[in-house]
């Protein structure tokens, strides 16, 4: 059985206000960083998972993303998958 490393990125949808991102953007400007046009905060979830085939693993990760990792009412997700 193969092992896969998955990195899931969960982000607030563009239409959803990200107050934490706005606050961090404001602090970044106070720090002296110039030129910041947008700053939004998401989550990254790392999963190591066993499976016989990549397709089978992708099915499981899709389910996890859709049902648990992200709330698709307000969040989008994408992930990268690497065979170890």
């Amino acid at each position: 059985m193969d092992q896969f490393a998955v990195k899931v990125f969960v982000r607030l949808r563009p239409s959803v206000l990200d107050p934490a991102g706005e606050a961090t953007k404001s602090a970044s400007i106070k720090l002296g960083a110039e030129g910041i046009k947008s700053l939004r905060i998401g989550k990254m979830i790392e999963v190591k998972i066993e499976g016989n085939a990549e397709n089978e693993v992708r099915e499981k990760i899709d389910l996890l993303c859709d049902r648990l990792f992200a709330n698709t009412v307000i969040e989008d997700y994408e992930y990268s998958l690497e065979k170890l």
């Binding site: 606050a23 009412v73 307000i74």
Partner: protein, 221 residues
């Protein structure tokens, strides 16, 4: 009220379960029973309250982990049978995460945890959860939340408006909620989710009694 029992769900991290139980038993003489979240036997309760708090430490998202508890899995049949479910604050978040109510609750627009009394307009009579038949169209209830900003897409909002599913709206929107929404019901009206805490407004000595009507509505058929 001898035979009617309201189940008050206890998750790890719930912290308003005892307040709800006190308000129901002490102020309204309605019997309650605590339901541990790992129980899926709802056969001896007639209505359910999902209380406020921080179930599972609000890990991942508020209500996201609680959604997978055995009790919430058993809730589907309970709701379909027409029995009443009231989700307060974290309970509302759990109801949206688990799909019993549409939309989502996310961080307040100013990132503050807001603990205050708010004025609310009673919008809909669906489910009979609020007293809007008489003169009282506005009530005052306490709120206490960091992630109470109700969000939904425009199609969902239209559906909420068209089907009269918006139960409560903030008079002075404290958290940036879409359309000032503070509470909604499902289409049948037997499920209500709201961010304000009716159980904290059941005695004059603690600031008001505007929450009594909603808690008392749990016994409606």
């Amino acid at each position: 009220m001898d035979n009617f029992i309201v189940g008050v769900v206890v998750f790890p991290g719930s912290n308003c379960d005892r307040d709800v139980s006190w308000a129901l038993e002490g102020c309204l003489d309605i019997r309650t029973k605590y339901l541990w979240h790992e129980s899926s036997d709802l056969s001896d309760v007639d209505a359910i309250v999902l209380p406020g708090g921080f179930s599972y430490g609000d890990y991942l998202r508020c209500g996201a982990i609680a959604r997978f508890s055995p009790l919430i899995n058993a809730l589907d049949e309970f709701v379909k049978s027409g029995k009443r479910v009231l989700g307060i604050c974290n309970g509302f978040q759990i109801l949206t995460e688990s799909g019993f109510l549409p939309g989502a609750l996310t961080a307040n627009k100013d990132l503050n945890f807001i603990c205050d009394d708010v004025e609310l307009d009673i919008v809909s009579s669906k489910g009979g959860w609020f007293n809007n038949g008489g003169e009282k169209q506005t009530i005052k209830l306490p709120i206490a939340h960091g992630e109470g900003r109700y969000h939904c897409d425009s199609d969902t909002l239209k559906k909420l408006v068209d089907n009269e599913l918006i139960a409560l709206r903030y008079k002075n929107n404290p958290n940036g909620s879409s359309f000032d929404i503070a509470g909604i019901t499902n289409e049948k009206g037997n499920v209500l989710g709201l961010m304000p805490h009716p159980e904290r407004a059941c005695e004059e000595t603690i600031g008001g009694t505007d929450g009594l009507f909603t808690l008392k509505s749990l016994i409606l058929k």
